[in-house]
């Protein structure tokens, strides 16, 4: 047998990354996801699709995003030189727009006339509502009722963009339940609807498709760093909830001699059980169309995740991350709510940037790792979203009152 000479070849035809991934969906949905797969395969070999994707990323989303040397942060931590991939500067304020542009172009190519999506923090919902508005397609966003409370500004944004936001009151009323409800919508509206999944998870081909659309992050960063420093980074760091920004950063580096670290949400602490660290503390199982690491009890019932960051508050993880962990190519660490809050403030005061709470988790790990690395080392972190949406959550955590109404 040939030795595996690339980490970038997955998934196989059935959508498997090792034992992970696959297509665990109701039979009603099987023909639909096979159709999405066919359409995506065709699109991949169509130069016009690629050109269209590149056009909207450049002129609509604002790519390429800058690669920024965080000089004061580096000086303060006193170790590796830290570069931030500024995906928070994209239109809509996060990396989510990359994937949404790609998927809505695919939906149009397939002749679909209605868009649905799930959202946790609301960033994917906003990005989906944005592209749906841009291309004139009606759009329904499913969002956990609890998330709607913590992310009220994003709910309003989606409404302004013309989307219908449907509150999900089942289960834990967070991202996983929103995904259940979106799948229920899709299974009911099979003829006209395209489901824009927001993270690199779900049934095949979504994990591969989302990864491909997000890989622009890593491709740009790799080229930008080579152009500026003439070398690759020593370490890449990204937060992982479902894992789309992390796989987008990591994938172009998988075959390079670069250490890759995904940072999960440890919530109140792994030992408390109130966390979202499925790779650190979960077991393989099947949920939402794929086999992956899940937070679950002994009987295979899914546990509620917890994180201060609504975007990381998910009990699963994309299947490619599960595989990368299993084979040891990527290291996965975890960071608590408290550490993320500290990192949020650190970036605000050293660099004048409010990070979203999701990349604040990555930053907390950077603050841990950088001082132990040499000053000639380079650490690249994906700053995948901006923190404006999180100021109410942060204020509450810090015990601050914002305005009379809150």
């Amino acid at each position: 047998m040939d030795k595996v000479n690339t980490y970038r070849g997955g998934p196989d035809e059935g959508g498997h990354f090792g034992i992970f991934g696959g297509r665990f969906v109701a039979e009603t949905l099987m023909p639909l996801i096979l159709e999405v797969e066919r359409a995506y395969t065709e699109a991949q070999s169509d130069a016009r699709f690629e050109a269209e994707f590149a056009y909207y990323l450049k002129h609509y989303a604002g790519r390429p995003s800058p690669l920024y040397f965080a000089e004061r942060l580096t000086a303060g931590l006193g170790g590796a030189r830290i570069f931030l991939k500024r995906d928070e500067l994209n239109h809509t304020g996060a990396h989510k727009i990359n994937n949404c542009v790609g998927q809505i172009l695919l939906a149009r190519r397939m002749g679909k006339t209605r868009i649905i999506a799930e959202t946790g923090a609301g960033q994917h919902g906003v990005a989906t509502a944005t592209v749906a508005a841009r291309f004139g397609l009606p759009c329904t966003i499913y969002m956990g009722a609890r998330d709607m409370e913590r992310q009220a500004p994003n709910v309003f944004r989606m409404k302004l963009l013309g989307a219908e936001v449907r509150p999900v009151t089942s289960g834990s009323q967070t991202l996983k339940d929103a995904m259940n409800e979106a799948l229920r919508d899709w299974v009911t509206n099979v003829a006209d609807t395209f489901y824009i999944i927001g993270t690199a998870a779900g049934p095949h081909p979504y994990p591969a498709l989302v990864r491909d659309f997000q890989s622009v992050i890593g491709e740009e960063a790799r080229a930008q760093l080579l152009a500026r420093e003439g070398r690759l980074p020593d370490m890449c760091v990204a937060a992982v909830g479902g894992g789309s920004n992390a796989i987008g950063l990591f994938h172009p580096f998988l075959d390079d001699p670069v250490e890759l670290v995904g940072v999960e949400a440890a919530g109140h602490g792994i030992e408390t059980g109130a966390h979202a660290a499925s790779l650190t503390a979960g077991r393989p199982g099947v949920l939402h169309g794929n086999k992956t690491f899940l937070l679950q009890d002994e009987d295979g019932q899914i546990r509620d995740a917890h994180s201060i960051s609504a975007g990381l508050d998910y009990p699963g993880i994309g299947p490619e991350h599960a595989w990368l962990k299993a084979i040891g190519r990527v290291r996965y660490e975890s960071v608590t709510d408290r550490e993320a809050l500290d990192a949020f403030r650190l970036l605000a005061t050293t660099e004048g940037i409010l990070p979203a709470l999701e990349p604040a988790h990555a930053l907390a790990f950077v603050a841990r790792a950088a001082p132990a690395m040499g000053r000639d080392h380079i650490l690249l972190m994906n700053l995948c979203g901006r923190g404006d949406k999180d100021i109410f959550t942060v204020a509450e955590a810090l015990g601050e009152q914002l305005g009379a109404g809150r």
């Binding site: 059935g14 696959g22 297509r23 665990f24 969906v25 109701a26 039979e27 009603t28 949905l29 099987m30 023909p31 639909l32 089942s170 289960g171 996983k176 339940d177 995904m179 259940n180 799948l183 229920r184 299974v187 009911t188 509206n189 099979v190 077991r283 393989p284 199982g285 099947v286 949920l287 939402h288 169309g289 899940l294 679950q296 002994e298 009987d299 295979g300 019932q301 899914i302």
Partner: protein, 276 residues
């Protein structure tokens, strides 16, 4: 065909009628009441009993069965407990086929081999795995086969002629036709659609065809029974269990038996006017 499912469909054919398949969530609304509810299904005239394996994230189910799942989980029902109920049911009803229906994760948590062996020991006849399409059945199917448990496959309105052979490959027991694209307990299919679907499936397989999703009333059950080999009713029963439990009904099993009797009567007599 062999086993209880085969014998049941043979008997139904001899009687010239369709069968009634009734679904309840295992352990719903409480482990104490659940065995009596299973008995009530049989007493009411169910030919086959379908027992749902509770799961936190039943993504193909509508509000009724979601609520049933949560009631059962809230009452502490596990798959292991469900298999104990199944074994006790088998002891009380040696001939009534019992089919488990659910999602894959609780089975994988128990272990595919362990599940198949324990289910067989409990007298389970078949399994329907909602989120395990043919493409993903390699982990469980060999164990079910070895244990003599039928894997009952689902055909849907989106299963076209090109895909149907894939669905039928490895299917046994009966074929479950999902009458509408959607979740359980939502819309109902038109009579003509059901007739056409059953005809299409019969042309492709010798397996009996059961039709479910959106069948809630005796009238709807009778309409389906004119075409299909069996009619599946789930959400309407689960709704009844939930409502009766909420108002602390004195005789919840009695209410279930009465409701099922209405369905069973309609199914039994559905073909009489047109019988040769």
């Amino acid at each position: 065909m062999t086993g209880r499912l085969g014998a049941t469909f043979q008997r139904l054919r001899q009687e010239g009628r369709a069968g009634l398949v009734t679904f309840v969530c295992g352990g719903d609304p409480s482990p104490d009441l659940a065995p009596a509810i299973l008995d009530a299904l049989v007493e009411g005239g169910a030919d086959i009993v379908e027992l749902g394996i509770p799961f936190t994230d039943p993504m193909a189910d509508g509000p009724a069965i979601q609520a049933g799942n949560l009631r059962a989980l809230g009452a502490g029902v596990s798959l292991a407990r469900l298999l104990e109920d199944a074994a006790a049911f088998r002891a009380r009803h040696p001939d009534v086929p019992l089919v488990l229906m659910g999602y894959l994760n609780p089975l994988l948590a128990m272990g595919a081999g362990a599940f198949a062996a324990r289910a067989a020991a409990a007298g389970v006849d078949g399994a329907i795995l909602v989120d395990m399409p043919p493409e993903e059945s390699a982990e469980l199917l060999p164990h079910l086969r070895a244990a003599g448990i039928h894997l009952i496959r689902l055909a849907t309105p989106t299963t076209d002629a090109a895909r149907l052979p894939r669905v039928l490959e490895g299917a046994s027991g009966f074929l479950y036709h999902v009458a509408v694209a959607g979740v359980t307990g939502a819309n109902s299919a038109a009579d003509a659609e059901i007739a056409a679907a059953v005809q299409r499936l019969r042309a492709a397989t010798d397996l009996p065809v059961a039709v479910g999703f959106g069948v809630r009333t005796p009238e709807q059950a009778a309409a389906v029974a004119r075409h299909a080999d069996a009619v599946v009713v789930g959400s309407a029963i689960v709704d009844l269990v939930g409502a009766a439990h909420a108002r602390q009904a004195n005789d919840l099993p009695g209410e279930v038996a009465q409701f099922v009797a209405g369905l069973a009567g309609a199914v039994r007599h559905a073909r009489v006017p047109v019988a040769a």
